[in-house]
């Protein structure tokens, strides 16, 4: 048992040491935790600004990993940039400032971490043949540790710490630095996403403005002015303009501008800019945006020379392409030389698309407006021609009918009975022709808008009676019974009496014409402020598929009936027009083999709209 005494003391010492070590580890872990916690708080507090985060990271990294100096390097996929750094002597900063930005290289531990995408260590830089000679002399360090930062498995930078003594870094320090690298990557990603969202929002707002302008107004100037102003504003350039291409003269013409003063605009307007000789022609031919980083290096042409004179050096030209070729170009201009950023190019493409839509819309609108004006004029000419023509046709017809009547009435002596019959045929055909001419005249008046209603008080009862008297002989000639059923005490109507009589005469005339046996019946009543007048027959009826088209102009159920029954196919179209001008409607119901009923619903008192006195 005694032999165990010293070992108890040893054990106690060992335990004490262990406890102390654990306490140290715990303290360190607490400090690490505190540091990373602080960094995370910083990240969430300043999503747009990575600098304070980097400062905190590098300060903690240096302190917690037993280093003396350190820096954050950022890699844009092309060049490495020096970010936040800690405890560098002024001469070191001067050397690094000269060195960076530059592509990643193996003479720096940061370059090795980025190129190899892995943790890189220099245990003793004096023994490292690749390490930068210049920094070996000036640098106050012997060993360095670099941990790469990643986004989507691509390196975006590295954190570097340096110590004055040679030797390998401990595993725990490497792990800790990895944690810091991850946090830095998160901060960068956050800031990038934030900036992207902001930029997107801004672009979307601007595109929305232009889009709204496109859809809310056909005023092309407003749309394009909005587009070019927002384009200049968002791309942070000095000036912008939209040029229209005039294919008829093969030249561009300055449209809306932003950022150009009146004098320059006036100068640009005077230029003869031909398709072939400018960047605009080139961009249009290629159908894609064209970068001109320095127009001074371009061949001379009027627009380039004028732009150079006003101090503009770089251009971005986005073609405006429509369905039928070039509409023009959106041109951004900057005093500083150099290419425009890809994000600006894609944004301008979107603006150009919007502007092209606006131009195309306006062009189509103009075309439609022009076409409808032409159509209207053509239609007026046609109606006028038809009106004149029917008038001209009536004059000789009047003479023919007049002479025929004089002959028929024996003005020049009694005629043989046969001649009387022939003269009567001439008269009947002449009257038919006159009816056709009058119908055509009515249609031409309807089409040219000259057809006006003259509204007067009328008695529907009287109108039905007039029609009955006028058609009675036609019905009895075919041995049809013609009946009228008019409800007693109908109110007086207000409408175009002669026109309404014409409609009713047409319906009854048709009914008699197409009915070979049975009856034709006219009914009239008043319901809810409207007259309802129906004309029913026991004729052949109208096939279902014809019912819809029967009121169309020049439509006849069976075109062969034109020859046997006569008519222009215009009567019902005119009837429909007249009834609708009165604010009423006309329709037909029919059963094949049983007959048809044409009905009119007509306001007892017609509105004055569409009526003229």
């Amino acid at each position: 048992m005694m032999a165990s005494q010293p070992s108890i003391a040893g054990q106690a010492h060992e335990l004490t040491c262990k406890v102390q070590e654990l306490e140290r580890e715990l303290t360190e872990a607490r400090r690490q935790l505190a540091a990373t916690g602080e960094i995370l708080r910083l990240i969430s507090r300043s999503p747009t600004d990575v600098e304070p985060v980097f400062d905190a990271i590098i300060a903690s990294a240096v302190k917690l990993c037993g280093a003396h100096q350190g820096a954050v390097y950022l890699y844009d996929g092309n060049l490495v940039h020096l970010g936040a750094h800690r405890n560098y002597a002024p001469e070191i900063i001067e050397i690094l400032g000269r060195m960076y930005p530059r592509p990643p290289q193996l003479d720096q531990v940061s370059g090795r971490a980025i190129l190899n995408r892995a943790v890189a260590q220099i245990e003793d830089m004096r023994a490292d043949q690749l390490y930068s000679r210049e920094l070996t002399v000036v640098g106050a360090w012997r060993s360095q540790l670099a941990v790469p930062m990643f986004r989507d498995e691509m390196p975006i930078g590295a954190i570097v710490i340096a110590r004055p003594e040679a030797g390998a870094f401990s595993e725990s320090h490497i792990e800790l630095l990895k944690t810091f690298a991850d946090q830095a990557a998160i901060a960068i990603e956050n800031a990038r996403l934030f900036a992207e969202v902001q930029a997107r929002n801004r672009d979307l707002t601007a595109l929305g403005d232009v889009g709204r302008a496109v859809s809310s107004t056909l005023n092309l100037k407003v749309v394009l002015k909005t587009a070019v102003e927002r384009a200049v504003e968002l791309s942070g350039t000095d000036a912008g303009s939209i040029f229209y291409y005039r294919p008829e003269v093969g030249r561009f013409e300055l449209g809306e501008t932003a950022g150009l003063d009146e004098e320059v605009i006036a100068k640009f307007r005077k230029l003869d800019i031909f398709m072939g000789e400018t960047g605009m022609g080139e961009a249009i031919a290629k159908r894609e945006p064209l970068q001109l980083p320095d127009i001074a290096k371009r061949p001379k042409n009027p627009l380039r020379d004028a732009a150079l004179e006003t101090g503009l050096r770089a251009s971005l030209i986005v073609p405006l392409l429509g369905g039928e070729g070039a509409l023009g170009a959106l041109v951004l201009q900057r005093r500083r030389t150099g290419e425009f950023a890809p994000s600006v190019v894609s944004l301008m493409q979107a603006f150009a698309d919007q502007s092209a839509i606006a131009l195309e819309n306006a062009r189509l609108f103009d075309e439609i407006a022009q076409k409808s004006r032409e159509l209207e004029i053509a239609s007026q000419h046609k109606s006028q021609f038809v009106a004149n023509m029917s008038h001209e046709l009536r004059t000789p017809l009047a003479a023919m009918l007049g002479y025929a009547e004089l002959l028929r009435d024996g003005m020049f002596g009694e005629l043989p009975e046969k001649s009387v019959r022939i003269i009567e045929r001439v008269q009947a055909n002449g009257k038919h022709l006159l009816g056709l001419i009058n119908t055509v005249l009515d249609i031409s008046k309807l089409e040219s808008g000259q057809f006006k209603l003259t509204l007067v008080e009328y008695s529907l009862d009287g109108m039905v009676e007039t029609v009955r008297v006028a058609t009675e002989s036609l019905a009895s000639a075919k041995q049809l019974s013609l009946r009228t059923e008019v409800v007693r005490g109908l109110p007086y109507g207000f409408g175009d009496e002669p026109r309404l009589t014409q409609v009713l005469l047409n319906l009854v005339g048709n009914a008699i014409k197409f009915t070979d046996a049975g009856e034709v019946r006219i009914t009239a009543e008043a319901k809810n402020g409207s007259f309802v007048v129906s004309v029913s027959d026991t004729g052949p009826g109208i096939p279902e598929e014809e019912l819809q088209r029967i009121f169309d102009k020049f439509y006849q159920v069976d075109s062969t009936s034109t020859k046997t029954k006569g008519g222009t196919g215009l009567g019902l179209a005119i009837a429909k027009e007249i009834i609708e001008m009165h604010g009423g409607r006309i329709w037909v119901e029919s059963v094949l083999g049983r007959g048809s009923t044409f009905s009119i619903e007509l306001p007892v008192r017609a509105e004055v709209s569409g009526a003229g006195v």
Partner: protein
Amino acid sequence: MMQRILVVEDQEDLREIARFALEGAGYEVIEAATGAEGIAKAETEHPDLVLMDIQLPVLDGYESTRRIKALPGMERMTVIAVSSFAMRGDEEKARAAGCDGYVTKPYSPKQLVDLVRQFLAKA
């Protein structure tokens, strides 16, 4: 004494038809082919009634009627307007110009004679 009708009509055929019809009914017919001729004949011949075509070249029927009615002693002359247009408003315009009656072409000669007879009976 025979009653005399002045027919102002630029279409020769229509003038002739009117003449046949009216002469057949026992009237004396004076013809004029233009508005100016119509005014001159109204002044010199003092007809009992004027049939005035509306669509006359140069001096139209409205204006001719106005001028006839402005002649001394002619304020009460009966003028019947004859129109081939049958446009709404023609009749109103004719009445405004001083026409007493209105008939649209083509008219039946018989109707014309009836109308003339009615107006002369009133006068």
